[in-house]
């Protein structure tokens, strides 16, 4: 690791000040499970690291006046599993339970999970986020890369395992900075972006800003589920995943929201799949149609066509689980 200055402020305002005063490049530290590894490999070389873990308000889970729940960005994944306030959001807990390293659950935070950098091996191998304007990925071993929205230089996938589950729940983020009293709310669905050049990151955060809270609205009468396709039960990242939210009345789907993970540079919402479900009875045929619709616009790279099938399977199984049916398969 290159040398850096370290600070552990106890308030949001102090953290913002530490991020915005003349300090060179600044990185935010929470659980450290991604950042410390990136710094060790010298892929990220900040002049200053600001640790958010001492800010008490960022470590709390609280009900909101509107019937939802606010989760501090520095809350650990284990704390979420243990919180009764989050019992009505079972698919979020289901997604965390898919992360099979207990150490990473104890250390990792929700904010860090959502802001993690891509696992793309070209990026992690020092070839930059876009790997020679996308050519390295297009011509190289792209078996784990994007099958949607990959026409530009960004061909990595967003690796958040919780973002799809939170987006189908209409989660919002509170972003603070760069001025001491600046705060804004952003839908998690709008937080991610596809970088067009090497100077851009994978989300809309600007210098001096950080995510302080994640807010879930009232759980409502939705049925939600998350399904991941993984190579085994080990700690590897999934190959594809999908989260589904259904509102079924008298056997007919009144509303649906489908978001896929690990298939595009951002979490990937499939309105095509949703259209196949809405207004229809929830039958095996409708669910299969939704899975097929989800992959209609897929543009696999040279070595990842298999992920298209897995994306279809993820959608079908997430919908089945949301409907209370067994997911099927192995």
């Amino acid at each position: 690791m290159k040398a850096f200055e370290y600070a552990a402020p106890s308030t949001e305002a102090e953290a913002i000040e530490l991020m915005t005063e003349r300090a060179g490049t600044v990185e935010i530290l929470a659980g450290g499970t991604d950042l410390v590894g990136l710094m060790k490999q010298m892929l990220v070389n900040p002049d200053r690291v600001v640790n958010l873990m001492e800010i008490r308000s960022l470590r709390e889970i609280e009900p909101t006046p509107s019937g939802g729940v606010s989760i501090g960005a520095a809350v650990s994944l284990e704390q979420i599993l243990d919180s009764h306030y989050l019992d009505p959001y079972a698919s979020l807990k289901q997604a965390i339970n898919n992360i099979s390293s207990m150490q990473l659950r104890c250390q990792g935070t929700l904010g860090g999970e959502l802001c993690q950098r891509p696992q793309c091996w070209f990026f992690r191998g020092g070839h930059g986020l876009l790997g020679d304007d996308g050519r390295a990925v297009a011509q190289g071993d792209n078996r784990y890369h994007a099958v949607f929205a990959n026409a530009g230089p960004a061909k990595f996938v967003n690796n958040s395992r919780l973002a799809p589950a939170l987006i189908v729940r209409d989660a919002r983020l509170r972003i603070v900075g760069p001025s001491p009293d600046a705060e804004q709310w952003v839908d998690l669905a709008d937080f991610y972006r596809i970088p067009r050049h090497g100077e851009q990151r994978e989300n809309v955060l600007r210098a001096g800003q950080f995510v302080s809270h994640i807010e879930l609205p009232d759980p409502g009468s939705f049925q939600c589920a998350t399904y991941e396709v993984r190579q085994g039960a080990g700690p590897e990242y999934p190959l594809t995943a999908a989260a589904a939210r259904l509102n079924v009345q008298s056997g007919v789907v009144r509303d649906a929201k489908i978001v896929l993970g690990h298939v595009a540079p951002t979490p990937w919402r499939s309105e095509d799949a949703e259209h196949e479900l809405i207004g229809k009875p929830l039958t095996a045929e409708t669910i299969e149609a939704a899975g097929l619709a989800a992959i209609r616009l897929a543009t696999p790279l040279s070595r990842n066509e298999y992920k298209v099938t897995l994306a279809q399977v993820s959608v079908e199984r997430a919908v089945r689980m949301a409907a209370g049916l067994p997911p099927g398969g192995f």
């Binding site: 690791m1 290159k2 040398a3 850096f4 200055e5 370290y6 600070a7 552990a8 530490l18 530290l29 450290g32 499970t33 410390v36 590894g37 710094m39 060790k40 490999q41 200053r48 690291v49 640790n51 873990m53 284990e78 099979s100 390293s101 207990m102 150490q103 990473l104 104890c106 250390q107 039960a233 080990g234 700690p235």
Partner: protein, 167 residues
């Protein structure tokens, strides 16, 4: 704001102060500064669990914790598990069940098992395998490790029953 700082933490029950740079990990300080070389550096990126220690009672991969973050924390390493030359039930079970070959992963497995048994004294095989999924072993094939954890859990249960019986 600092480049070097004295950090105080309770390590295996003793209050310890050490000087460190922000870029040093807890694992580096444990091994190179405090000479507690039980925690091992395997992958160095949090995947293998060989460096697992308990920080405020929870298992963490110390290769991904900055030493600065240990300020005020209570840390337990493999060196704090045995009582003098008396091994605890988990260590004893690993030894008796030959749940190790090269031994590099063992301190991490034992610390992770301590965390598991503290929270779930009678884990099922599935629960053991799930809880230890963040620890990798390339020698044993895991079966002997799982059996050692089951045996340690049984030993502990028996010990606590006989303690209650003699009260």
């Amino acid at each position: 704001m600092s480049r070097k700082r004295v950090v105080s933490a309770t390590i295996n029950g003793d209050l310890v102060e050490f000087l460190c740079e922000p870029r040093q990990t807890l694992l580096e300080v444990l091994r190179n500064v405090l000479e507690l070389t039980g925690a091992k550096e395997g992958c160095s990126n949090g995947n293998c669990g060989a460096c697992t220690v308990l920080m405020n009672g929870r298992p963490v991969v110390s290769c991904l914790v900055l030493a600065m973050e240990a300020e005020g924390a209570e840390i337990r390493t493999i060196e704090g598990v045995a009582c003098g030359s008396h091994l605890d039930e988990v260590q004893q079970a690993f030894l008796q069940g030959a749940a190790l070959q090269c031994g590099i992963c063992t301190p991490g497995f034992i610390m992770q098992t301590e965390a598991l048994l503290a929270e779930n004294p009678q884990p099922s095989e599935d629960e053991i395998r799930f809880y230890l999924a963040g620890n990798l072993c390339r020698c044993t094939g895991y079966d002997k490790i799982v059996r050692a954890v089951q045996s340690a859990a049984a030993q502990r249960q028996q010990a606590s029953h006989s303690t209650q019986a003699t009260r």
